[in-house]
């Protein structure tokens, strides 16, 4: 069953066309990696999926039944967050903000969900620590746990490994892959690391303002793009 459908979407950013007539479909359980050079419109596309940018034309359909109205989003980190005084627990709890609605307090069920997700990502022991004291990899785990509190069905990650060292990067990719394989979380990830992308994802979308390639990873690695980027040593 398709969970996200984009039909001919175009987006303007700063007066320029950043995304040009892009169409693709994502099925439930897919792991889609969006790759492309800087300025190819990958992040813009993802922001539009999250409803943060207006479309110039085309439409995005997100299956409300499958996502229960929410999408777990892991945005690129803002500078102001790096010295933000907040505990890990507070941040992960804010992932339940939508289900809380106008009730002034979080209920037992929501707190349990936070506990489950903290344990799932192995950061339960860090819950009283301050976010700004954590390493980059730990911070990303916290944000991932928060995203999982928002929904279990669809996660959208925008360059989640930027600035992380290779070991931590590999760990994070493993976590994401496991969430997809074992728990059937649908994943959409923006990355410029094609080698890693082709390892975990089952579908690839190569952006260059337009769709340069969209299809299965197996087919992608035989294209000229992939060969150029992977240097043939795959």
């Amino acid at each position: 069953m398709s969970i996200v459908t984009c039909k001919d979407i175009s987006i303007e950013y700063d007066g320029k066309v950043a995304v040009d007539q892009v169409s693709f479909t994502i099925e439930q359980g897919d792991y889609l990696c969006i790759v492309g050079e800087n300025g190819s419109g990958k992040s813009t596309l993802v922001k539009a999926l999250m409803g943060l940018l207006k479309l110039k034309s085309g439409e995005i359909e997100i299956n409300k039944e499958l996502t229960l109205g929410g999408i777990g989003y892991l945005p690129q980190q803002a500078d102001s967050q790096k010295d933000f005084p907040a505990s890990v627990y507070e941040i992960v709890l804010s992932g339940c903000i939508k289900s809380k609605g106008l009730r002034p307090f979080y209920n037992v069920k929501e707190k349990q969900r936070v506990k489950d997700n903290l344990e799932r990502l192995n950061i339960f022991d860090l819950r009283h620590k301050s976010y700004r004291e954590l390493s980059g990899g730990q911070q990303q785990r916290v944000l991932l746990a928060r995203a999982l509190c928002a929904t279990d069905s669809l996660l959208v990650l925008d360059e989640p490994v930027t600035g992380l060292d290779p070991v931590v990067t590999a760990e994070l990719y493993d976590i994401i892959e496991e969430l997809n394989r074992r728990e059937h979380v649908t994943i959409i990830m923006v990355s410029h690391d094609v080698r890693m992308a082709t390892k975990g994802a089952n579908k690839i979308l190569q952006m260059g303002r337009k769709v340069l390639f969209f299809g299965k990873t197996k087919e992608y690695i035989n294209t000229s793009y992939a060969k150029a980027l992977l240097g043939g040593g795959h």
């Binding site: 922001k47 999250m50 409803g51 943060l52 109205g69 929410g70 999408i71 989003y73 892991l74 945005p75 803002a78 102001s80 967050q81 933000f84 005084p85 907040a86 505990s87 507070e90 941040i91 709890l93 804010s94 992932g95 903000i97 939508k98 809380k100 002034p104 307090f105 979080y106 009283h128 620590k129 301050s130 700004r132 004291e133 944000l143 928060r146 995203a147 928002a150 959208v156």
Partner: protein
Amino acid sequence: MIQTLQEMLSYPFISRAVIVGILVSLCAALLGVSLVLKRFSMIGDGLSHVSFGALAIAMAMNIAPLKLSIPVVVIAAFFLLRLSNNSKIKGDALIALISSSSLAIGVIVISRTTGMNADVDSYMFGSILAMNDDDVNLSIILSITVLILFVLFYHQLFSVTFDENFSKAAGINVSLYNMLIAFLTAITIVLGMRMMGAMLISSLIIFPALSSMRIFKSFRLVVVSSAVISVICFIIGMIVSYQYSIPVGASVVVVNLSVLILCSLVGKH
């Protein structure tokens, strides 16, 4: 010190000022944490200047000052927020532009009507004599409203302060909550400005938040401690001002500054 405090409170105008001052310090400190973290500290400063202009016009037109300046400053707050999010002129430049323009308009209006006299001085640097009973009642009602709204929407405000994009994606109406912050800030500034003065009111928003961020690491503790710090600094500032006959606004700011220095030293260890 207790004795001085008792002596002070025996004057009705001082006890009025203390009640309003405590409530306004509380509101300012709570909102201040969000404003500082969202990099909106300068909005407080801009709004206080707008408030000065509105006050001058209200005096010239013989309208109750709070009744004119509250709506004007609320509108200015929405405007600043809107424009600083999507505009060609960057937020900080825009705020400077609006502050100096409203200050200029205020000064022109005053000099053409009542003349530059003691009133202007009290707007600029605050005075505890500025408020009558009506003002005090309105201030109490409004600041309690600000406190209640803050508590009710605490979690939303946290989420929007920490990560606007995530909150938006999760389905939260981020611009509504940004407007709530702007609205509450505007009211707090107008209420506090009479006592603290247009030039000094923004310190009430910025100092307590910065002080408690040096020491505490969770959002909840930062919010609670900045409220406590703010109220204590206000009371000490009030006593100092009474003892040495200096304007309240200035003495509250200096007490806050000392606390900030102290907190920075403690926070380093």
